[in-house]
Amino acid sequence: MMQANQPISGVLLDEVALSLDELAHAVDVGPDWVVRHVQMGVLGFDASVQVTTWRFGSRDLDRARRLLRIERDFEANADVAALVIDLGDEIRRLRTRMRALGVE
Protein backbone atom coordinates (compact mmCIF):
# COMPACT_ATOMS: atom_id res chain seq x y z
CA MET A 1 0.00 0.00 0.00
CA MET A 2 1.15 3.50 -0.75
CA GLN A 3 2.09 5.70 2.16
CA ALA A 4 0.14 8.90 1.64
CA ASN A 5 2.05 10.88 4.22
CA GLN A 6 5.56 10.24 3.00
CA PRO A 7 6.25 12.97 0.45
CA ILE A 8 8.03 11.71 -2.62
CA SER A 9 10.37 13.69 -4.79
CA GLY A 10 10.71 13.62 -8.53
CA VAL A 11 13.08 15.11 -11.02
CA LEU A 12 12.30 18.17 -13.09
CA LEU A 13 12.58 17.51 -16.77
CA ASP A 14 14.92 20.09 -18.28
CA GLU A 15 17.24 19.51 -15.33
CA VAL A 16 17.32 15.78 -16.01
CA ALA A 17 16.20 15.08 -19.59
CA LEU A 18 14.57 12.02 -21.15
CA SER A 19 16.36 9.60 -23.43
CA LEU A 20 14.87 8.48 -26.74
CA ASP A 21 13.39 5.32 -25.22
CA GLU A 22 12.02 7.15 -22.20
CA LEU A 23 10.24 9.73 -24.33
CA ALA A 24 8.82 6.97 -26.56
CA HIS A 25 7.53 5.09 -23.52
CA ALA A 26 6.05 8.23 -21.98
CA VAL A 27 4.05 8.94 -25.12
CA ASP A 28 3.33 5.24 -25.75
CA VAL A 29 4.90 5.02 -29.20
CA GLY A 30 7.85 3.15 -30.65
CA PRO A 31 11.26 4.85 -30.70
CA ASP A 32 11.00 4.98 -34.51
CA TRP A 33 8.08 7.44 -34.18
CA VAL A 34 10.28 9.77 -32.13
CA VAL A 35 13.24 9.38 -34.50
CA ARG A 36 11.05 10.21 -37.49
CA HIS A 37 9.78 13.38 -35.81
CA VAL A 38 13.22 14.52 -34.72
CA GLN A 39 14.42 14.10 -38.29
CA MET A 40 11.43 16.15 -39.45
CA GLY A 41 12.50 18.88 -37.03
CA VAL A 42 9.31 18.86 -34.90
CA LEU A 43 10.89 17.38 -31.79
CA GLY A 44 14.27 17.60 -30.10
CA PHE A 45 15.47 21.07 -30.98
CA ASP A 46 18.62 20.50 -29.02
CA ALA A 47 19.08 16.90 -30.12
CA SER A 48 22.61 16.11 -31.19
CA VAL A 49 23.65 14.07 -34.20
CA GLN A 50 24.26 10.94 -32.11
CA VAL A 51 20.91 9.20 -31.52
CA THR A 52 22.19 7.59 -28.32
CA THR A 53 22.85 11.00 -26.78
CA TRP A 54 19.50 12.54 -27.72
CA ARG A 55 17.85 14.20 -24.74
CA PHE A 56 14.33 15.59 -24.45
CA GLY A 57 12.74 18.06 -22.03
CA SER A 58 9.29 19.21 -20.89
CA ARG A 59 8.57 20.97 -24.13
CA ASP A 60 9.29 17.88 -26.23
CA LEU A 61 7.13 15.70 -24.04
CA ASP A 62 4.20 18.11 -24.31
CA ARG A 63 4.65 18.53 -28.05
CA ALA A 64 4.99 14.80 -28.66
CA ARG A 65 1.72 14.10 -26.86
CA ARG A 66 -0.14 16.81 -28.78
CA LEU A 67 1.39 15.69 -32.09
CA LEU A 68 0.30 12.13 -31.56
CA ARG A 69 -3.22 13.22 -30.68
CA ILE A 70 -3.54 15.27 -33.91
CA GLU A 71 -2.05 12.49 -36.03
CA ARG A 72 -4.38 9.87 -34.54
CA ASP A 73 -7.56 11.93 -34.18
CA PHE A 74 -7.46 13.19 -37.73
CA GLU A 75 -5.25 10.57 -39.37
CA ALA A 76 -3.23 13.63 -40.19
CA ASN A 77 -0.10 13.71 -42.26
CA ALA A 78 2.91 14.23 -39.94
CA ASP A 79 3.88 17.55 -41.56
CA VAL A 80 0.38 18.96 -41.17
CA ALA A 81 0.26 17.79 -37.54
CA ALA A 82 3.63 19.50 -36.97
CA LEU A 83 2.28 22.72 -38.44
CA VAL A 84 -0.82 22.50 -36.23
CA ILE A 85 1.15 22.19 -33.01
CA ASP A 86 3.61 24.89 -34.10
CA LEU A 87 0.65 27.22 -34.59
CA GLY A 88 -0.76 26.12 -31.22
CA ASP A 89 2.56 26.94 -29.54
CA GLU A 90 2.62 30.34 -31.19
CA ILE A 91 -0.92 31.08 -29.96
CA ARG A 92 0.07 30.08 -26.43
CA ARG A 93 3.21 32.20 -26.58
CA LEU A 94 1.27 35.24 -27.79
CA ARG A 95 -1.45 34.79 -25.17
CA THR A 96 1.14 34.56 -22.40
CA ARG A 97 2.88 37.65 -23.78
CA MET A 98 -0.38 39.58 -23.91
CA ARG A 99 -1.23 38.63 -20.35
CA ALA A 100 2.26 39.58 -19.18
CA LEU A 101 1.82 43.01 -20.72
CA GLY A 102 -1.60 43.39 -19.16
CA VAL A 103 -3.59 43.09 -22.40
CA GLU A 104 -6.37 40.55 -22.06
Binding site: M2, A4, N5, Q6, P7, I8, S9, G10, V11, L12, L13, D14, E15, V16, L18, H25, A26, D28, G57, S58, R59, L61, D62, R65, D73, F74, L87, G88, I91, R92, T96, R97, R99, A100, L101, G102
Partner: protein, 307 residues
Protein backbone atom coordinates in the same frame (compact mmCIF):
# COMPACT_ATOMS: atom_id res chain seq x y z
CA UNK B 1 -21.23 5.30 -10.49
CA UNK B 2 -23.20 7.40 -12.95
CA UNK B 3 -24.16 6.13 -16.36
CA UNK B 4 -22.77 8.22 -19.19
CA UNK B 5 -24.47 8.39 -22.53
CA UNK B 6 -21.49 8.46 -24.84
CA UNK B 7 -23.68 8.52 -27.92
CA UNK B 8 -25.30 11.70 -26.65
CA UNK B 9 -21.88 13.23 -25.91
CA UNK B 10 -20.89 12.74 -29.52
CA UNK B 11 -24.37 13.57 -30.82
CA UNK B 12 -24.85 10.37 -32.80
CA UNK B 13 -27.45 7.59 -32.91
CA UNK B 14 -26.74 4.30 -31.18
CA UNK B 15 -26.86 2.68 -34.59
CA UNK B 16 -24.35 5.07 -36.16
CA UNK B 17 -21.64 3.36 -38.22
CA UNK B 18 -18.02 3.72 -37.05
CA UNK B 19 -17.35 6.20 -39.84
CA UNK B 20 -20.06 8.54 -38.61
CA UNK B 21 -18.82 8.33 -35.01
CA UNK B 22 -15.34 9.24 -36.13
CA UNK B 23 -16.63 12.21 -38.13
CA UNK B 24 -18.72 13.48 -35.21
CA UNK B 25 -15.75 13.10 -32.87
CA UNK B 26 -13.41 15.02 -35.15
CA UNK B 27 -15.88 17.84 -35.56
CA UNK B 28 -16.27 18.21 -31.79
CA UNK B 29 -12.53 17.95 -31.09
CA UNK B 30 -11.93 20.82 -33.48
CA UNK B 31 -14.78 22.85 -32.00
CA UNK B 32 -13.54 22.54 -28.43
CA UNK B 33 -9.79 22.49 -29.02
CA UNK B 34 -8.34 24.53 -26.11
CA UNK B 35 -6.11 26.55 -28.42
CA UNK B 36 -8.96 27.90 -30.51
CA UNK B 37 -12.19 27.49 -28.57
CA UNK B 38 -13.80 30.49 -26.90
CA UNK B 39 -15.95 28.23 -24.73
CA UNK B 40 -15.26 28.62 -21.04
CA UNK B 41 -15.57 24.88 -20.44
CA UNK B 42 -13.54 23.85 -23.50
CA UNK B 43 -11.12 21.76 -21.43
CA UNK B 44 -13.93 19.90 -19.68
CA UNK B 45 -15.76 19.34 -22.97
CA UNK B 46 -12.62 18.03 -24.63
CA UNK B 47 -12.18 15.56 -21.82
CA UNK B 48 -15.77 14.30 -22.16
CA UNK B 49 -15.48 14.00 -25.92
CA UNK B 50 -12.22 12.08 -25.66
CA UNK B 51 -13.67 9.79 -23.01
CA UNK B 52 -16.70 9.02 -25.19
CA UNK B 53 -14.58 8.38 -28.26
CA UNK B 54 -12.08 6.23 -26.38
CA UNK B 55 -14.97 3.81 -25.89
CA UNK B 56 -17.13 4.26 -29.00
CA UNK B 57 -14.14 4.57 -31.33
CA UNK B 58 -12.88 1.12 -30.32
CA UNK B 59 -14.98 -1.75 -31.70
CA UNK B 60 -14.35 -4.01 -28.71
CA UNK B 61 -15.11 -1.36 -26.08
CA UNK B 62 -18.14 -0.17 -28.00
CA UNK B 63 -19.54 -3.70 -28.04
CA UNK B 64 -19.08 -3.94 -24.26
CA UNK B 65 -20.72 -0.55 -23.80
CA UNK B 66 -23.65 -1.47 -26.04
CA UNK B 67 -24.14 -4.62 -23.98
CA UNK B 68 -25.30 -2.36 -21.13
CA UNK B 69 -28.30 -1.58 -23.28
CA UNK B 70 -30.08 1.62 -24.18
CA UNK B 71 -32.25 1.65 -21.03
CA UNK B 72 -30.09 4.07 -19.06
CA UNK B 73 -30.32 7.83 -18.86
CA UNK B 74 -27.39 10.23 -18.69
CA UNK B 75 -26.37 10.67 -15.04
CA UNK B 76 -28.56 7.81 -13.79
CA UNK B 77 -27.23 5.77 -10.88
CA UNK B 78 -25.77 2.68 -12.45
CA UNK B 79 -24.33 -0.66 -11.47
CA UNK B 80 -22.98 -3.02 -14.07
CA UNK B 81 -24.95 -6.30 -14.18
CA UNK B 82 -23.02 -9.14 -12.49
CA UNK B 83 -22.37 -11.09 -15.68
CA UNK B 84 -21.74 -8.04 -17.81
CA UNK B 85 -18.56 -7.92 -19.82
CA UNK B 86 -17.64 -11.55 -19.16
CA UNK B 87 -17.07 -12.24 -22.84
CA UNK B 88 -14.89 -9.17 -23.14
CA UNK B 89 -12.66 -10.22 -20.30
CA UNK B 90 -13.74 -7.68 -17.67
CA UNK B 91 -14.98 -9.43 -14.58
CA UNK B 92 -14.46 -8.28 -11.03
CA UNK B 93 -14.87 -4.61 -11.80
CA UNK B 94 -15.46 -2.46 -8.77
CA UNK B 95 -18.81 -0.69 -9.22
CA UNK B 96 -17.69 2.21 -7.04
CA UNK B 97 -15.35 3.40 -9.74
CA UNK B 98 -15.80 6.05 -12.33
CA UNK B 99 -17.84 4.98 -15.29
CA UNK B 100 -14.97 5.43 -17.72
CA UNK B 101 -12.79 3.09 -15.67
CA UNK B 102 -15.10 0.22 -16.62
CA UNK B 103 -13.63 0.44 -20.09
CA UNK B 104 -10.24 1.97 -19.45
CA UNK B 105 -8.35 -1.23 -19.00
CA UNK B 106 -9.88 -3.33 -21.73
CA UNK B 107 -7.37 -2.55 -24.48
CA UNK B 108 -4.31 -3.22 -22.38
CA UNK B 109 -5.55 -6.48 -21.00
CA UNK B 110 -6.67 -7.73 -24.38
CA UNK B 111 -3.17 -7.08 -25.62
CA UNK B 112 -1.56 -8.86 -22.69
CA UNK B 113 -3.97 -11.79 -22.95
CA UNK B 114 -3.20 -12.41 -26.59
CA UNK B 115 0.54 -12.26 -26.10
CA UNK B 116 0.28 -14.38 -22.95
CA UNK B 117 -1.04 -17.28 -24.99
CA UNK B 118 2.35 -17.67 -26.60
CA UNK B 119 4.74 -17.20 -23.73
CA UNK B 120 5.08 -15.66 -20.32
CA UNK B 121 4.35 -12.07 -21.01
CA UNK B 122 6.30 -9.28 -19.43
CA UNK B 123 5.53 -5.64 -20.02
CA UNK B 124 6.57 -2.44 -18.27
CA UNK B 125 3.64 -0.44 -16.87
CA UNK B 126 2.28 2.57 -18.71
CA UNK B 127 3.32 6.05 -17.71
CA UNK B 128 0.64 8.30 -16.23
CA UNK B 129 0.23 11.94 -17.21
CA UNK B 130 -1.47 14.37 -14.88
CA UNK B 131 -1.37 18.07 -14.08
CA UNK B 132 -0.96 19.84 -10.78
CA UNK B 133 -1.83 23.45 -9.95
CA UNK B 134 0.28 25.52 -7.60
CA UNK B 135 0.44 29.16 -6.58
CA UNK B 136 3.20 31.42 -7.83
CA UNK B 137 4.47 31.70 -4.28
CA UNK B 138 5.01 27.91 -4.22
CA UNK B 139 7.41 28.23 -7.14
CA UNK B 140 9.54 30.60 -5.04
CA UNK B 141 9.72 28.35 -2.00
CA UNK B 142 8.85 24.82 -3.08
CA UNK B 143 5.89 23.00 -1.57
CA UNK B 144 4.26 19.62 -0.99
CA UNK B 145 1.02 18.75 -2.73
CA UNK B 146 -1.33 15.78 -2.58
CA UNK B 147 -2.08 14.14 -5.92
CA UNK B 148 -4.98 11.73 -6.23
CA UNK B 149 -4.61 9.16 -8.98
CA UNK B 150 -6.82 6.34 -10.15
CA UNK B 151 -4.63 3.38 -10.94
CA UNK B 152 -5.29 -0.27 -11.56
CA UNK B 153 -4.00 -2.62 -8.90
CA UNK B 154 -4.17 -6.38 -9.16
CA UNK B 155 -6.66 -8.03 -6.76
CA UNK B 156 -6.28 -11.46 -5.16
CA UNK B 157 -6.96 -13.13 -8.53
CA UNK B 158 -4.46 -10.97 -10.35
CA UNK B 159 -7.19 -9.00 -12.07
CA UNK B 160 -6.68 -5.24 -12.14
CA UNK B 161 -9.09 -3.12 -10.12
CA UNK B 162 -9.14 0.66 -10.16
CA UNK B 163 -8.00 2.09 -6.88
CA UNK B 164 -7.59 5.61 -5.63
CA UNK B 165 -4.05 6.35 -4.65
CA UNK B 166 -2.97 9.52 -2.88
CA UNK B 167 0.59 10.64 -3.32
CA UNK B 168 2.23 13.43 -1.43
CA UNK B 169 4.59 15.07 -3.88
CA UNK B 170 7.41 17.51 -3.25
CA UNK B 171 7.26 20.34 -5.75
CA UNK B 172 10.78 21.76 -5.91
CA UNK B 173 11.45 25.47 -5.82
CA UNK B 174 12.04 27.10 -9.21
CA UNK B 175 9.39 25.34 -11.30
CA UNK B 176 7.84 27.19 -14.24
CA UNK B 177 4.48 26.77 -15.97
CA UNK B 178 4.38 23.78 -18.30
CA UNK B 179 7.39 22.11 -16.75
CA UNK B 180 7.13 18.37 -16.17
CA UNK B 181 7.98 16.66 -12.93
CA UNK B 182 8.85 13.00 -13.38
CA UNK B 183 8.19 10.57 -10.54
CA UNK B 184 9.90 7.29 -11.30
CA UNK B 185 7.94 4.11 -10.62
CA UNK B 186 4.67 5.89 -9.74
CA UNK B 187 2.87 4.98 -12.98
CA UNK B 188 0.77 1.92 -13.77
CA UNK B 189 2.10 -1.40 -12.50
CA UNK B 190 3.94 -3.61 -14.95
CA UNK B 191 2.62 -6.96 -16.17
CA UNK B 192 4.18 -10.32 -15.55
CA UNK B 193 6.82 -8.80 -13.30
CA UNK B 194 7.62 -5.90 -15.60
CA UNK B 195 8.67 -2.62 -13.94
CA UNK B 196 6.02 -0.01 -13.14
CA UNK B 197 5.67 3.07 -15.31
CA UNK B 198 6.44 6.64 -14.30
CA UNK B 199 4.18 9.50 -13.33
CA UNK B 200 4.56 12.79 -15.16
CA UNK B 201 3.07 15.85 -13.51
CA UNK B 202 2.66 18.99 -15.59
CA UNK B 203 3.06 22.09 -13.43
CA UNK B 204 0.29 24.65 -13.84
CA UNK B 205 -0.08 27.96 -12.01
CA UNK B 206 -3.30 29.16 -10.41
CA UNK B 207 -4.25 32.55 -11.82
CA UNK B 208 -3.30 35.39 -9.48
CA UNK B 209 -4.68 38.90 -10.07
CA UNK B 210 -1.44 40.43 -8.76
CA UNK B 211 1.07 38.65 -10.96
CA UNK B 212 1.54 37.38 -14.51
CA UNK B 213 4.09 34.73 -15.33
CA UNK B 214 5.96 34.28 -18.59
CA UNK B 215 8.44 31.44 -18.37
CA UNK B 216 10.81 32.38 -15.54
CA UNK B 217 9.86 36.07 -15.61
CA UNK B 218 7.13 37.61 -13.48
CA UNK B 219 5.17 40.82 -14.10
CA UNK B 220 3.50 42.89 -11.44
CA UNK B 221 1.63 46.21 -11.56
CA UNK B 222 2.65 48.78 -8.97
CA UNK B 223 0.39 51.77 -8.27
CA UNK B 224 2.26 55.06 -7.67
CA UNK B 225 1.17 58.62 -7.02
CA UNK B 226 1.74 61.32 -9.66
CA UNK B 227 4.42 62.96 -7.48
CA UNK B 228 6.26 59.67 -6.90
CA UNK B 229 6.33 59.17 -10.67
CA UNK B 230 7.28 62.78 -11.41
CA UNK B 231 9.80 63.46 -8.67
CA UNK B 232 11.10 59.96 -8.14
CA UNK B 233 10.78 58.08 -4.86
CA UNK B 234 11.80 55.08 -2.87
CA UNK B 235 8.75 52.90 -2.36
CA UNK B 236 8.13 49.61 -0.57
CA UNK B 237 6.67 46.90 -2.84
CA UNK B 238 5.28 43.55 -1.82
CA UNK B 239 6.78 41.09 -4.35
CA UNK B 240 6.39 37.31 -4.56
CA UNK B 241 9.75 36.95 -2.79
CA UNK B 242 8.88 39.43 -0.04
CA UNK B 243 8.94 43.18 0.47
CA UNK B 244 11.58 45.15 -1.40
CA UNK B 245 12.55 48.81 -1.52
CA UNK B 246 12.36 50.09 -5.08
CA UNK B 247 13.61 53.33 -6.53
CA UNK B 248 11.18 54.99 -8.91
CA UNK B 249 13.29 57.20 -11.19
CA UNK B 250 12.14 60.82 -11.62
CA UNK B 251 10.04 61.64 -14.69
CA UNK B 252 8.55 58.15 -14.89
CA UNK B 253 5.40 57.73 -16.94
CA UNK B 254 2.63 55.18 -16.47
CA UNK B 255 3.60 51.83 -17.99
CA UNK B 256 7.30 52.24 -17.24
CA UNK B 257 8.89 48.88 -16.53
CA UNK B 258 11.35 48.49 -13.68
CA UNK B 259 13.36 45.31 -13.87
CA UNK B 260 14.44 43.62 -10.66
CA UNK B 261 17.10 41.21 -11.79
CA UNK B 262 16.92 37.71 -10.34
CA UNK B 263 13.63 38.32 -8.50
CA UNK B 264 11.56 36.25 -10.92
CA UNK B 265 11.13 32.52 -10.45
CA UNK B 266 14.28 31.07 -8.85
CA UNK B 267 14.87 28.46 -11.56
CA UNK B 268 18.36 27.20 -12.38
CA UNK B 269 18.70 30.40 -14.39
CA UNK B 270 16.61 32.73 -12.21
CA UNK B 271 14.05 34.95 -13.90
CA UNK B 272 13.49 38.67 -13.46
CA UNK B 273 10.62 40.55 -11.86
CA UNK B 274 9.16 43.42 -13.88
CA UNK B 275 7.31 46.11 -11.98
CA UNK B 276 4.97 48.05 -14.23
CA UNK B 277 4.18 51.51 -12.91
CA UNK B 278 0.56 52.48 -12.77
CA UNK B 279 0.05 56.18 -12.00
CA UNK B 280 -3.08 56.69 -9.91
CA UNK B 281 -4.55 60.19 -9.66
CA UNK B 282 -5.88 61.38 -6.32
CA UNK B 283 -9.59 62.17 -6.59
CA UNK B 284 -10.53 65.84 -6.91
CA UNK B 285 -13.22 65.50 -4.31
CA UNK B 286 -12.31 68.28 -1.87
CA UNK B 287 -11.94 72.03 -2.29
CA UNK B 288 -8.21 71.78 -1.54
CA UNK B 289 -7.63 69.00 -4.09
CA UNK B 290 -9.48 70.90 -6.82
CA UNK B 291 -7.41 73.98 -5.97
CA UNK B 292 -4.15 72.06 -6.37
CA UNK B 293 -5.22 70.62 -9.74
CA UNK B 294 -6.29 74.10 -10.85
CA UNK B 295 -2.93 75.48 -9.81
CA UNK B 296 -1.12 72.82 -11.84
CA UNK B 297 -3.34 73.62 -14.81
CA UNK B 298 -2.42 77.29 -14.60
CA UNK B 299 1.25 76.97 -13.85
CA UNK B 300 2.39 73.89 -15.75
CA UNK B 301 0.87 74.81 -19.12
CA UNK B 302 0.93 71.14 -20.10
CA UNK B 303 -0.98 69.71 -23.05
CA UNK B 304 -0.34 66.00 -23.71
CA UNK B 305 -2.09 66.23 -27.12
CA UNK B 306 0.47 68.69 -28.38
CA UNK B 307 3.85 67.41 -29.50
Amino acid sequence: VEYKDYYKTLGVERTAPAKEIKAAYRKLVRKYHPDVSKHKDADEKTKEINEAYDVLGDAEKRAAYDELGPGFQQGQEFRPPPDWGAQHGFGGVNAEDLFADLFADLGRRGQAGRAGARRTFQMPGDDIHAAISIDLHDAYTGTTRAVVLRVPEPDAHGRPQMREKTLSVNIPKGVTPGQQLRLAGQGHPGMGGGPPGDLYLEIQFNPDPRYRVEGVNVYQNVPVTPWEAALGANIAVQTPSGQVEVTVPPNSQAGRKLRLKGRGIPARTPGDLYLILEVVLPPADTERARELYAQMARELAFNPRQT
